[in-house]
Symmetry: C3
Subunit: 316 residues, 3 copies
């Protein structure tokens, strides 16, 4: 069997086999090496990649645009949705068909779930989902497992605690599936009102996931090789009182770290507000800024693969 990503769309976090995920991570590693050696990479020279942000996200856009540029391709960027033809009543499909005529690959972020799949339906060129609504953010989930592989040396058979807002955080949803796919145990710790949605927990369990839910953050940390922290946003709570009551319990700091399993890796999709005290930034297991950097390499890998310019023949 041969693995070939050329022309494929990257739409969600479940679409890949473990072998495919491995190829993606190997490729990310390959590009990371080349960038760090200071190579001038021209793998995508002559190509134009459109970055269509129907919803602003400076961080994700900059990461993609750096990736595109580092591969030698060029960017055609829409960062400001307000001014787009959408405002004139054009359908998503028409916008995509038009841009598809200018470029060789489309990266898009959209506030409505399912938009990336609709775009992929009409586009001739590959579409990479940079996040659509609350449903998917596959490049984030992929960079997360790439980070785990780099930080821990391997990606399976470990315990990971998801801490914070597990209800609205699409990041932890996507990553949950991938963690299950690699046979990791998951512990969910969250405020009552921000628990992991029942249907996701059920789905994960039906796939055979080993899941534990607890309020005891110290216990969770003591059991975990990795803790994945997410932002707890005030506007997610029914009242300011409840927010204030909960907030403190979900802040990771030096005090809490004492209860953690030695060598625990701390991850966060960023931006961080105060869920992780800055005093932890110098702890060597704090991987969140390395995690952000990994995003660029992972995106380089996807771009190289779907355009067919990283044309290694992977047979498995």
């Amino acid at each position: 069997m041969t693995i070939d990503f050329k022309g494929k769309d990257i739409l969600n976090g479940f679409q890949f086999s473990n072998q495919e995920l491995n190829v993606i991570m190997e490729t990310a590693s390959y590009y990371e090496m080349r960038v760090k050696r200071g190579e001038i990479i021209k793998d995508l020279e002559g190509l134009v990649v459109a970055t269509l942000f129907f919803e602003p996200s400076t961080r994700t856009r900059l990461s993609f645009e750096a990736a595109i540029n580092r591969l030698g391709a060029r960017v055609a960027s829409m960062a400001e949705p307000a001014n787009s033809s959408i405002a004139k009543g054009e359908s998503l499909e028409d916008t995509i068909l038009t841009v598809d005529g200018y470029c060789d690959c489309i990266v898009m972020r959209h506030p409505v779930s399912g938009s990336a799949a609709r775009a992929a339906e009409v586009a001739v060129h590959p579409v990479i989902n940079g996040g659509d609504g609350t449903s998917q953010h596959p490049t984030q989930a992929l960079l997360d497992i790439y980070t785990i592989r780099k930080e821990k040396g391997h990606i399976g058979g470990q315990t990971i605690t998801f801490l914070g807002d597990l209800k609205y955080g699409r990041t932890v949803h996507s990553l949950g599936y991938l963690m299950q796919q690699f046979n990791n145990k998951m512990i969910f710790v969250s405020p009552e009102s921000l628990r992991m949605p029942e249907e996701i927990t059920a789905e994960l369990k039906s796939r055979g996931a080993d899941i534990e839910e607890t309020d005891d953050i110290k216990y969770a940390l003591s059991q975990s090789d990795i803790v994945y922290v997410t932002r707890v946003q005030r506007e997610r709570f029914p009242s300011v009182e409840e927010y204030e009551k909960c907030k403190g319990s979900y802040i990771l700091n030096n005090d809490l770290l004492k209860y953690a399993k030695p060598g625990i890796t701390i991850m966060h999709p960023l931006p961080r507000v105060d869920e992780i005290a800055t005093e932890l930034d110098t702890y060597e297991g704090s991987a969140y800024f390395r995690q952000a950097s990994n995003g660029m390499y992972l995106r380089m890998a996807l771009l190289g693969l779907v355009t067919g310019r990283h044309n290694i023949c992977y047979s498995i």
Copy 2:
């Protein structure tokens, strides 16, 4: 006689002789071929082109920026007029003189008619008008005739119906002149309140244009090799009632297509709202998305010609 575009400004749709238009279309065709062969084009390597959008237009900007990048040049982009020095009271001339010092060519769009000519007056480098006010949008008119040439194999002696808002659509004004220049017959079909302005019709006739105005859309379609549809915007009508009354009559769909001349080509400058039913998207004569793609090749041609980097000697 030699045709040389080096250093020339592209300001309006009337500035070219038929031979010059031919050179522009030949060049667009040449770049289309090179892009489609997957060539890495470096004709404009080392050059910086500024894209100054004093009025937002994502579609036109992306098309220009893709063209610039595909030629190997670099973009310096102003997409957000609100933040510009204009807001501080600077004159257009001062802005242009400043940007002219950074770049090798200026692409600009501006809400005020005549702005492109004012810019060209002070700039050392060539200025390409990406649309100024209601007066001119020459690159749209040029890509339209390039599309007709590609779709029909030739560009003269045909009948074209202009359908929709002929009063405010600068696209149909510019294209009208070019259609006359190539001896095509024109049929105008529009709501009463959105008819082609008298002075344009008069001017076209004084140049010898063969023009017919009618309310009978079926008749018009039956006579036409091409139908050019434009958006009918609610805000152009005196009342919502009048808009609702008119709207339906100017929607092209499968039903209406039955009355059309076989093989009729359907064009639209996009964005489309509902003037063309999506059921027509699969009709092989529907050229509007190909038309949008042609925009990039046509803009590559203009950029190659005015910078002098596409330095073929055309003698006629």
Copy 3:
């Protein structure tokens, strides 16, 4: 002693010795020559430079982005601060650490004084201050002295009049220090309420600066080799009356020029509103648009030097 800028941050206008300033200007001159010869420069090929504008400034951003592109590097641009992670409550340090992971150099502009130094503290890659608050705008001061050197042939022992708003104009503050550093005499002419801040005048004098303050603009011009004009903004005045009263006195025009020392050079950081009458644009000593162009070459020099790609060994 060897001068090596590799990895250095460019934070303020006082950080350089005269020898270092000379190297920067020589390098700007070297890049200006290469651009004007039409060379395709690849000195920074393979590098990505982030331009983070936490405060919009189209002019400065375009100048930097043209410089980056002309060096063969690529841009990852944030032009619209409203959409950034900052809006989500992220600290400046976190934003910088994230972007630092994508790129090889950071150019930033920020509304708060001291931000560039804070960024440089955490970033691995060099930070170039494109203006932070009212404190510093070093690349403007450097392009100003580069302009003086080009216009006058040398940079020391001359008399320069600063005219207009000397209170809020960070440009004249930074340039003041550099003028002192090269032993130029300074004359300050401003409305009473917009005089040079006492602490800056004191600091300059303590460094041995020869400074004169006067209301007599004709006298000042008659003594000066250079006049540096800044915008007098209405909102800086306590009342409209006072603004209207003052305004006229600080407009440079042909009439006033009669009183000036022959060959006087007129500079302005732009944008200009009406402080310099457009009738002066054709006067050969009017250097303000050349000054703007010089900004690109000066920024190319800084980028080449701090990335270590312009790796000439300067020993002094």
